[in-house]
Amino acid sequence: MATTHLKESAAAPASRVASAPRRPRGGRRPWAYLAPAVLLLGGVLGYPVLDGLWTSFNHSILTQPGADRFTGLSNYAAVLTDPVLLTAAWHTVLWGVANLVLQLVLGFALAMLMHQKLAGRAFFRSVVIIPWIVPSVVVALVWRFLLDPTSGPLNQLLLNLGLIDQSPQWLADESTAMPVLILLSTWKWTPLVAVILLAGLQTIPKELHEAAMLDGAGAPQRLRYVIIPGIRTSIALAGLLTVGYSVNNFNGIWMFTRGGPAGATETLTTLAYQYAFTQFDFGRAAAVAMILFAFLFLLSTVYFYLVEGRKR
């Protein structure tokens, strides 16, 4: 939806920079600004990714030292024929899409609330971002407490309200484990999405709102023609981030269910972990990681061309 407003959006002048009269035409100047970032990204992120790519083409099993050798695509063949992979891939898609939709919708609503002139706004803004601040280690602990089937306050509350008549085993039941984990991940990460969107909302000039009001635009119109186009890039950034981070969110699953019950929350990330650290087969683990990475890379590219427009 965001892309249709590309041309008329006031908030995205970046794509028109090309025509500007720049004195020394690009030249070395941008690279001076970029050097630290490129060095760090290339060295600390780029090298491990290339290392992973190379490992995925090798027989590399820790418990067989000295047996490492190039084996082409055989790791890929092995993992692609593993029946678990298909289920894990499906769970990954489900997990990514559900997190994306929930976090964007709720994050937008939260950002709108944070943007309001409320009494006690500072308090409100600092309190609702708590889940994002609470460390993952602690999140797992608190929620396992809250969700405990017998002694957890959530079930006791639901029982007292008469909403349920017997205690559900949220994390131990095949049918609820995945939805519950998705909700927990949404709880933890929605504040981040809200902060990104709030930062976007704050850049919309007040004049635009006022002009729209004068034109007699109602709330839905302003949402559609002022707010959403105004934070288009923020929405896109938050969306991409949500998909990327939730798909790679290992702790959010492992600390609760370890991929269970009966594989109901197994994703490509937990699968790669198991290949690496219970089977010590780093070749296959890297192959799973590369498959996931290729998919996310594709998504980034699509995002990039949609958001950055069809310049040139």
Binding site: Y33, A35, T63, Q64, P149, T150, Q169, A172, R258
Partner: protein, 431 residues
Amino acid sequence: MSQTPNMRMSRRGLLRATGGIAATAVLAACGNGGGTGGGSGGGAKGTLTLWASTAFAGDAKAALRTAAQEYGGKQGLTINVEGFPANDLAKKITTALAGGGGPDIVVADVSSIPQFAASKMLVDVTARFKAAQGEFFAGNVAAASFKDAVYAVPYDTSNVALLWNKKLFQQAGIQSPPGTWDELLASAKELTGGGRHGYMLGAQGYGSFLFWPWLWQNGGRILDDAGTKALFNAPEGLEAWNFYAGLHLTHGVVPPTFLGVTQAWDQYIQPFLTEKVAMLAIGDWGLAPIAKGNPGLEYGVASLPKGKESATVLGGNAIGITSACKNVDAAWGFVSWLTSAGQEKVLRDGYQRIPARTDVGNGSMAGLDEAHQIFIQQAASARPRPAVTAWGDIEWQVMANAWDSVIQKKKSPRQALNEAATAATQALSRG
């Protein structure tokens, strides 16, 4: 905005400044690291690094630390003891050693020793250990060995027994803990009702670990002697598996919340602590949390009920010297001292644990409470799990998934067990 003289230097200055940031100079300056290589790989002569789980090295006053200091003081050695959460320890050791660093000495769960050994991460200590080998339980030595070589010295030993709630038994009019499978089932049925259940089980890896005694009690075996083929789905195995799963599936004597026991022994013990469950099978590691969590709980400890024979599973930790160690002689000196007859007090007084030494039956463990005594008696006959590379995969992946698919009613017990056997044999073939 006024023009300033430093405009001119801005580009060059910027280059330099940014280069400086990216280079590690700034970063290295702000940490106190650098140089030393971070205590990895032994470092200078006279310094040893030991990694253990937080169960052994959890706080500054841990007995293992004190012992290391005592020995180090005598020998002019510095022995650094670092503790890590048990769930992370094996991964942490693996990552560090694979990355070229790591500690000199590790205190690790015996079930992870074969994998370390196969990865050539531990030093073969067969020759050094020979003289003292007879002082240790054969089962613990076997568990710390791989392909006829010993890679670690047994430290503590543990095994599984039955804990039973005296009050609940009395209320149900049952005099003594069950001695056989049939008695167990009958008692469990009696004890179930009114929000309480008779027996406790675990999910995932907790379920598979606690299955082995049942398998052995029914005359079954986990693997063949060569360690190349899974045998646990033979008729005796299937019968034991059916009985084990039937406690939940057929008889409902297990609280349904056991499906959530996937992370820690705490979760497994909790219903017993709160008197929602009357019996559970657990090792001596369960005693301390019970004493702490519900000091008033009246319970007894008995051997596991018998099937065709009696059997319990052996666990514990062993101490190995890593391939990163540059001073194996010094490390061995410490390891042999720590596991010697004079030092059983570290385990006994510091951790209420039982040394894997055959002389524990001689009264040296009298200081431990009565609840521990049955575990001490069982130490000699407890059976080790197979020392194969793929063990972690078989127990915590293959069998854990099979058990989960049974208790989640996704597969029949027979189908799950047969598939697990095929998968286990396949895992064994990978080496």
